[in-house]
């Protein structure tokens, strides 16, 4: 068979993404039709910038999801086919089997794997880790930022100082330290996980307790319903057989040590910035009359922080959340690029860019698709944040 021409490659790639296109069109049609009833999300569809950003982000989300369902990928991202090493985009397979896709659409890398499939699979890793890690960072930032801003004084001074200390620490160096075998052996990353992942528990516990404290019966039920599963998940998360923390009998799942380190580091470097934003917002909102009204009817400080202040700080926080997923995506790329955390054969974008980099002067094609993918996702997130900010200010 002949190699594909450039236009043929483009057409075939577009065809491969067919499920994504269908999903995107369906999403946009429904959203635009009902945009007046959808609040801030609906308003997004009044802004061109916001729509482009949302489209880019959802493209990669759908790609990740469908890719994980093996709908888009043409080959196994880990399979090495002989004769395909460093081949140009559109190269046909030397001896395709029955039912096998006959081309490497974006060529092969230096281990003769399909660049296109690896890029698609890489999207799934980002789509899974980046929002979740950002969410954890937000929980930590919110749980510490609210009291710092609300109480002020010495508590604020101490917490702000700690935040500055962490922000001043070189990020890459921190990552290297965290994955160094000697340090892993001491259990430091695990202890950090123990501390950082307890915040969601604290957050939800306080959230529920402050809300229902006047009704003890319901309070107990709600706390049990939410906290018991969370606690089990937490214990399974931090408990890893054969490591420093290995005592919990009900270990339902294990997170690979590398992923845990990625999570810990992402949360660790993002939380201080979130802390600062939340602290600033809390300082502003605590002067409002409805906060004073809550104080005069004897509400506890945590109720005021979580139910009176936090919901009214959501606008800027949602915008920042979008931006921060973008930073986290880049951070994941950086970690992958340095080969930290994720397994070496992983198809994540950072690792593939790093592998492509080594032969960049001879073979350009393996490094470009993941780089472009990373760029477009982060660009999409930034545009989405811009659109949200713009639309939330308009009326």
């Amino acid at each position: 068979m002949d190699p594909l021409s450039t236009s043929q490659i483009a057409l075939r790639i577009l065809a491969q993404f067919l499920p994504v296109w269908i999903a995107l069109v369906a999403l946009f049609v429904v959203s635009i039709r009902y945009k007046r009833r959808l609040g801030l999300y609906g308003k997004l569809f009044d802004s061109t910038i916001g729509m482009i950003g949302f489209g880019l982000v959802m493209f990669w989300v759908f790609t990740g999801v469908f890719g994980a369902m093996d709908l888009i990928v043409t080959h196994d991202p880990l399979a090495q086919l002989s004769g395909m090493k460093n081949k140009k985009p559109g190269t046909p397979l030397p001896s395709p089997e029955e039912g096998e896709y006959a081309w490497y659409l974006l060529g092969g890398d230096n281990l003769a794997r399909d660049v296109f499939s690896r890029m698609v699979k890489g999207a799934w890793i980002v789509v899974q880790i980046a929002p979740l890690a950002t969410l954890f960072a937000f929980m930590v930032g919110i749980t510490l930022g609210l009291p710092a801003g609300y109480y002020g004084g010495r508590l604020d001074t101490v917490l702000s100082f700690l935040a500055n200390l962490i922000l001043a620490f070189p990020v890459i160096l921190l990552f290297y330290l965290l994955v160094t075998p000697e340090i892993v052996a001491t259990g430091v990353p695990q202890y950090m996980a123990v501390v950082l992942f307890v915040f969601p528990l604290v957050f939800f516990g306080v959230l529920i307790h402050s809300r229902y404290r006047a009704q003890p019966q319901r309070n107990r039920t709600m706390l049990a319903v939410v906290l018991v599963p969370l606690f089990l998940a937490y214990m399974s998360l931090i408990n890893t057989p054969g490591s420093k923390i290995d005592f919990w009998p009900l270990d339902v799942f294990d997170v690979p040590g590398g992923i845990l380190v990625v999570f810990v580091s992402v949360v660790f470097v993002n939380a201080p910035t979130v802390f600062r934003i939340v602290r600033g917002l809390a300082m502003d909102i605590k002067t409002r009359d409805y906060v004073a009204a809550a104080q005069t009817r004897g509400e506890g400080p945590w109720y005021i922080m979580l139910w009176e202040i936090l919901p009214n700080a959501r606008g800027p926080l949602i915008v920042d959340f979008c931006l921060r997923i973008g930073y986290t995506t880049i951070l994941l790329g950086t970690l992958g690029f340095f080969g930290l955390g994720l397994p070496p054969e992983s198809p994540d974008w950072g690792s593939t860019i790093n592998e492509g980099r080594k032969l960049l002067s001879i073979y350009l094609h393996p490094a470009l698709p993941p780089a472009f993918a990373l760029l477009s996702l982060v660009l999409g997130l930034n545009l989405l944040a811009d659109g949200l900010r713009e639309e939330s200010l308009r009326d």
């Binding site: 009044d46 001074t157 006047a214 009704q215 409002r288 009359d289 409805y290 004073a292 009204a293 809550a294 104080q295 005069t296 009817r297 004897g298 509400e299 506890g300 139910w307 009176e308 919901p311 009214n312 959501r314 308009r394 009326d395």
Partner: protein
């Protein structure tokens, strides 16, 4: 730029219509609006918020923003159509021929630039003056606006001046190039009454001196009476009545104007014998205006089939000077019919003592160094000094004073948000001055509640109205089940006269008055014995104020609540309170029954305060007493009497006693106490500040 002489109308607005375009629809903000301002004339533009008065001002400045557009009519300045001018021509005119003064002085000044430089910019840009000349001119104008030490003021930054001084600078800036037209958009709303009185005097005086025409935008009828020659009443985007002050105030010819006057507390109104008459219903939203007369649905003279048939033109009132009304029936209505006061209530009788405050003091220590507070010198702010009073069941006690007088601090101590430095607060027989709110039991907390000032801030914007009231019930442990609490919440909504559907609404879907009602419902959720109302109506429109005030009174009658009414608005205080307590710099300077406080002898501060309040009644004569300077800082109070720095009676006290010694509290009549060194004889010679001309 040379200004040409011109003797026609300075500003001629003809059938002006302005619309704003949002993504949903076109919103007409001003419709068919005409007004003209002659040279040297001051025209008031009066109306409630949202009636389009500020939009007219922005239209004159041709500064409507991206969404606003003039969709009909014309605005002529000295005979030239502003709509036809190029951007460069407009730039020439703004600031030199037309100047504008905004509500917030701090927002109109550049905080990073010294006052002198900002003032000098105006003549340097518009008249091409040199720096030295411009500086001389700035110095001259600052002297004109009566600021002390002009040279020092020119060399300071805006934040180093007080609010009143800043507003004077803004006025000075507007006058720098001697404009022909000055637009004042609520210029004194952000200021205290005594400062307001001084600024208003200044504006009037300068208007006469420079021969400037003025367009004075305000919601305060009293202020317009004091400053303007003519006025234009606006309602929902339309001018409903224009004419000279005398015609409109005494011979009004539009039902809205009449209703407006009946809803404001003028001297003579009384909560029991002659209550205010609120305008029923709500202000229509711009896109929900009724057909025909906009005021129709709220008008007592409404005739179906006639008033709602089509657009209503402005008609001239025969026999008056340029007096117009937008009413079809104005010649049929008997304007002098005595008005039906509605329900008259027997005055409430105060019951047993609920709250007793004894020599209460609250001092704050302000550390010189915030980070390491323990070291360095601390300064003491004396927010409250020896406050003593009693409040009885179903009594209304007004606490009057300007910002910084310590009334809010007192409220905080009472609520338990702060603890007292010394003294005693007794709620029934319980000491609460040292119990912070976390330590108070539910019963105490629910019996002392508060209604807040700013309706747009008093409700949590992200929680439904019903949820917020239910939360208060939960926290006060009222009702055993959710259903019981829900039922009780509905009854509270009934109590404040809101429809039950409002339980599902978000606060942003409510108007200011409705939000304030929810705030009141929330305060009464736990059957409060004492309600502290911190300026509960000052941020509301006049027509809504009466309704909310009435509601408070009605609930008070039913629940026998003690109302502590904090306010700076003496008209409303006179109307609804039984006793009045006047505060200045943390001291109670005068306290007594309402009649005693509002009649001589006064404390000199009360006298000035009474004189400063604008009253929208042409038959009232007031003595002008303008206080010099600003309220001293509570961090650094003057020695002796706190009021001695601004008191006009100081010379009457021998031996400089005022500067040396804090005056003792004296009882000059039963239940009427005063903190002043003036001798009984001089006090006896004081004359009434407000005189109602005999009719």
């Amino acid at each position: 730029m040379v200004k040409e002489a011109y003797d026609g109308p300075i500003l001629e607005i003809d059938n002006l219509s302005i619309s704003f375009f949002t993504r949903l629809r076109e919103i007409p903000a001003v419709m068919d609006f005409s007004v003209s301002v002659m040279p040297g004339e001051a025209v008031g533009l009066v109306g409630e918020s949202g009636c389009g008065k500020s939009t007219v001002a922005l239209g004159v400045m041709q500064d409507l923003g991206k969404n606003g557009q003039i969709v009909g009519g014309s605005i002529k300045f000295k005979g030239r159509d502003l709509g036809q001018m190029s951007a460069a021509e407009l730039r020439d005119i703004r600031g030199s021929e037309i100047a504008m003064i905004y509500q917030e002085p701090m927002a109109s000044l550049n905080p990073a630039m010294k006052i002198g430089k900002q003032l000098m910019e105006v003549p340097m840009i518009h008249q091409g003056l040199g720096a030295a000349e411009a500086h001389a001119r700035a110095l001259q104008v600052v002297t004109d606006v009566k600021l002390p030490d002009p040279a020092r003021i020119l060399d300071s930054f805006p934040h180093q001046l007080s609010g009143g001084q800043q507003q004077r600078i803004v006025i000075a800036m507007a006058l720098m190039s001697e404009p022909s037209l000055l637009i004042l958009d609520e210029p004194t709303t952000a200021l205290d009454v005594t400062v307001e009185a001084a600024v208003v005097d200044l504006v009037k005086e300068l208007g006469a001196k420079y021969g400037t025409s003025m367009l004075f935008i305000s919601h305060n009828l009293g202020l317009v009476l004091e400053t303007c020659d003519r006025l234009c009443v606006m309602y929902s985007g339309e001018a409903v009545e224009t004419g000279s002050i005398k015609d409109v105030f005494d011979d009004m010819r539009h039902p809205y104007t009449q209703a407006l006057f009946r809803s404001i507390p003028l001297p003579g109104a009384d909560k029991s014998a002659r209550p205010l008459k609120a305008i029923p219903g709500n202000f229509p939203l711009p896109h929900e205006r009724p057909p025909g007369c906009n005021f129709g649905p709220r008008c007592t003279y409404f005739q179906a089939g006639r008033c709602d048939a089509g657009d209503i033109p402005m008609e001239e009132v025969v026999g008056a000077d340029r007096h117009h009304s937008r009413c079809l029936r104005f010649s049929e209505i008997d304007w002098y019919a005595p008005f039906d006061a509605g329900e008259v209530h027997a005055p409430s009788v105060p019951g047993k003592v609920v709250l007793k405050v004894n020599a209460l003091k609250k001092h704050y220590e302000v550390a010189a160094n915030a980070l390491f507070g323990s070291s360095g010198a601390t300064r003491v702010v004396k927010a409250n000094e020896t406050i003593s009073f009693e409040a009885r069941e179903s009594e209304t006690l007004a606490i009057v004073g300007e910002s910084g007088c310590g009334k809010s601090t007192f409220a905080k101590v009472l609520m338990g948000l702060e603890t007292a430095t010394s003294g005693q607060i007794m709620l029934y027989d319980q000491d609460i001055e040292n119990t912070p709110i976390e330590m108070r039991n539910t019963d105490t907390v629910s019996s002392v509640q508060m209604v807040f000032q700013n309706p747009f801030d008093t409700l949590n914007p992200s929680m439904t109205v019903g949820r917020q009231i239910i939360r208060a019930l939960e926290i006060f442990r009222i009702g055993k089940t959710d259903a019981e609490r829900k039922e009780r919440m509905f009854r509270l909504l009934d109590l404040v006269k809101l429809p039950r559907e409002f339980a599902e609404r978000m606060p942003r879907q409510l108007s200011g008055g409705q939000k304030q009602r929810v705030g009141i419902a929330r305060a009464f959720a736990g059957g409060a014995k004492i309600v502290v109302a911190d300026e509960p109506v000052s941020a509301l429109d006049v027509s809504v104020q009466a309704a909310v005030t009435d509601l408070l009174m009605e609930i008070q009658r039913e629940e026998k609540t003690t109302l502590l009414f904090i306010s700076h608005d003496l008209s409303i205080v006179r109307y609804l309170s039984d006793r009045v307590m006047v505060m200045y710099l943390g001291h109670v300077v005068e306290m007594g029954a309402t009649d005693q406080v509002f009649a001589p002898p006064y404390h000199p501060y009360t006298e000035a305060l009474l004189s400063a309040v604008p009253i929208a009644d042409t038959s009232v004569e007031k003595e002008r007493i303008v206080l010099e300077g600003d309220i001293p800082s509570a961090m650094n109070p003057p020695p002796g009497c706190p009021f001695q720095t601004r008191c006009r009676w100081k010379a009457q006290v021998p031996d400089g006693l005022c500067e040396a010694e804090l005056p003792p509290v004296r009882e000059i009549a039963a239940g009427h106490q005063i903190k002043c060194h003036l001798s009984a004889e001089i006090l006896g010679r004081m004359e009434a500040v407000i005189k109602v001309a005999a009719e």
